[in-house]
Symmetry: C2
Subunit: 111 residues, 2 copies
């Protein structure tokens, strides 16, 4: 087993507040939310970052992206939502297991 | 022809500073950059937002996502980059033609 925080969450070794799961991904609440709704969409497969994805991951990444509006709708985010994917240290990535932030529940500011 | 700003850019009716294009997408510089590198990855196909994507767009969205690290590498963003997709007004979406922001060139802050 790796020391990866998200792999441990996926394995159930560390608790998380899950809102969705399927064969490919789990979705749970960020423990330091930046908005009323702040979820992380995380593939079960350990991939360090978007830099490590290639054509073999096409189906996985499209599944993750097309899942976002469905999750947003389930969460009642009818007015909209923001999706952020940080890649690498300079991109602000803190956990090196690929994850997509889904934020909403208030008017989100510009950049 | 619609009044869509990005459709006009794609059609060449409005100039843009393009850095990449292929059969499915164009990539050009944001006119109000929020970072030293701030690009927009835009599908040629008019889709209002991520809310309007379904399984028929799987290949397109995976193409866009897997293109991001390639573009980032071409732009010299070896330290990392951030990807933002705003969906709907509350998500901060300003132009209702789906687009992915690619930001980098400095240490990007937390949320």
């Amino acid at each position: 087993m790796s020391d990866c925080l998200f792999c441990k969450i996926i394995a159930g070794e560390i608790p998380s507040d899950q809102v969705y799961q399927d064969e490919q991904v789990i979705v749970f609440k960020d423990i330091n939310p930046s908005a009323p709704v702040h979820l992380l969409v995380v593939p079960r497969l350990h991939i360090d970052s978007l830099n490590d994805m290639d054509d073999t991951h096409s189906e996985l990444i499209s599944h993750m992206m097309l899942l976002l509006p469905k999750i947003a709708k389930e969460q009642g985010l009818t007015g909209g939502f923001r999706t952020i994917l940080n890649t690498g240290t300079e991109g602000g990535q803190l956990v090196f297991h690929l994850h997509i932030h889904l934020l909403g529940g208030k008017q989100l500011p510009g950049f």
